[in-house]
Symmetry: C2
Subunit: 368 residues, 2 copies
Amino acid sequence: MSDAHAARRERLSQYCSAGGADAALVTKPANVRYLTGCAPCGATLLLTRDRALLALPAELPPDDTGEHPYAAELPHLVAAPDQDTAEAAAAAATGLRVADLAVEEHDLTVTRHRAIAEQAAGVRLTDLNRAVERLRVVKDDQELAELRIAAEIGDQALGELLESILVGRTERHLAMELERRMIDHGADRAGFPVSVGTGGHSGRSDHLPTDRRVEEGDFLTVSLGAQYRGYTVCATRTFVIGAAPAPWQVELHRLVFEAQRAGREALAPGVPGGTPDLVAREVLRAGGHHEERPRPFGHGVGLEVREAPQLGPGEMGKLDNRVPVTVGPGVHLPGRGGVRIEDTLVVRPLEEGGPELLTITTKELLAL
Amino acid sequence: MSDAHAARRERLSQYCSAGGADAALVTKPANVRYLTGCAPCGATLLLTRDRALLALPAELPPDDTGEHPYAAELPHLVAAPDQDTAEAAAAAATGLRVADLAVEEHDLTVTRHRAIAEQAAGVRLTDLNRAVERLRVVKDDQELAELRIAAEIGDQALGELLESILVGRTERHLAMELERRMIDHGADRAGFPVSVGTGGHSGRSDHLPTDRRVEEGDFLTVSLGAQYRGYTVCATRTFVIGAAPAPWQVELHRLVFEAQRAGREALAPGVPGGTPDLVAREVLRAGGHHEERPRPFGHGVGLEVREAPQLGPGEMGKLDNRVPVTVGPGVHLPGRGGVRIEDTLVVRPLEEGGPELLTITTKELLAL
């Protein structure tokens, strides 16, 4: 692991040098984790041309040996009680003769930025310009392996739920059961709150589970994703409750299935990020469905549930090889419910077999 | 509800006027909720001398009527897709001829603050100086009622768990069961991840549950808090597993119990915030236990799990009537475990009966 992290830090150092900064102060938790492999709450990483220094909060409980629990990983310092780790690291930067320090202006509050400037007197503060987020877009082998395991865990949890009795149970109970099953199968936690929508709630993205109970004839939309070693994938499936789906349900499911397939098949290195969304949306529009305020049907995943690249309809940036993204179109009919189907896939060139599907649970319209 | 929220907004308006600002831009989610009663993710409140305007994100799903789901509550605008609500509200402020706009510099990132400044050309941006956090310290009747219900929910969940078989179950399973039971009893959610520590993990604050199984003779420390209508309380209890606690366990529990009682009894209006911590710590020190880097034994609670007032050993600010706080001393012996006991209480004057205990589950050393 630590070789991979050292390589990531080396790439960031090179980026800083090229931009004229002689050090970077990394405060955003997902970025600290990406560069160090450890995720203590409130840690800050100071990265100069030739060294990495992790500033840890005083409140982090020491382990049973009395040592600070991340001591073995990287050179570190421990902030004073009530001292911000970013301030402690900024003070250390002055001791290391840093002249230009790039900070994460999209993460630091105005108050914290001012405190850093006070600690780093004489140091010029610049913006790191989301450099770490951009490094994070293309995943290495270790990251892809962890995303595959995260996907497997979600598939297992969902598979088990579908074998149980669903009628009469509430959305909230089903959501909690899925969270528990993911943790049982080895997830760190649910990567985001599981969404379960039944009846009129089905087909929505980000529906918050309610006390509505599953009834015969309902659509049931489940959206879940396990977090494994920090990495999260997303999967959404829509099923029907009872033996015989109504004709409108079969028809709507078929349409969303086609739209989602078109989106998946559009994924390839070099394709504009907005293309999968556009082709999926075109299928839905041809079927008579369009949204006035479209929300993007997909996004990048990794150490954050939603991260770069953006995949909304207007995105022109090109997709890269080894970038995991979601494709998740849906239709929601007010009062009736709807269908949403979402996968996480890794962009791969055709000669390597095309997009790699991580979330392999069936997308057929199962009648449960 | 809305009268209480209007009264809170009126107090903030008066504060702004007194400070020379003619409007406030509130972006911190807990503060938006405090002032409006609604908590849509990413909303911003613009409060001028004579009006309140809520800026809502475009991505918020409309409800089944096609209306934005918070439309009925307050005058509002909907930001453009991908537009930050704070930018949308700042642009609206220029239309309302705002000259001095107080923003939350402790919440806004540098990047967001810059974008607001660009939208609000010609408007002078100042700092709101955590004014809403300070208004939030003393709770009104509605807030105290919600905190009482949150405490009851946690007590019920813990009481049920103690009636079940514990030996052989993992810390993670016990933590998940407590979360589920709190939701079953009406909690919005767990206010923070439930902590369950057994054996060598007992007595720690903020221990993350592991796969360690409960064994005979273990101390078991459980720390939990339900969130009810946004408000969270904290309770921590330590029990022993098996029929006969060892003499060191009985002794250590008695000591922490005494320390916690001393801390609780020190709560009163006008007392310095650090006093409960100091008196509890003195009892532990007399018993031979002291920490080199002391973490505060208590903190304020409300719409955030940890909010003002601060209650660390050095805090000199005076406690007020109607302020809910936690008192939670503990001792952790490396390798052996320990005891932590924490309550949430509302500061009240002696003539009203003294501090009001919200978390009433027994603090005796139950042998389970």
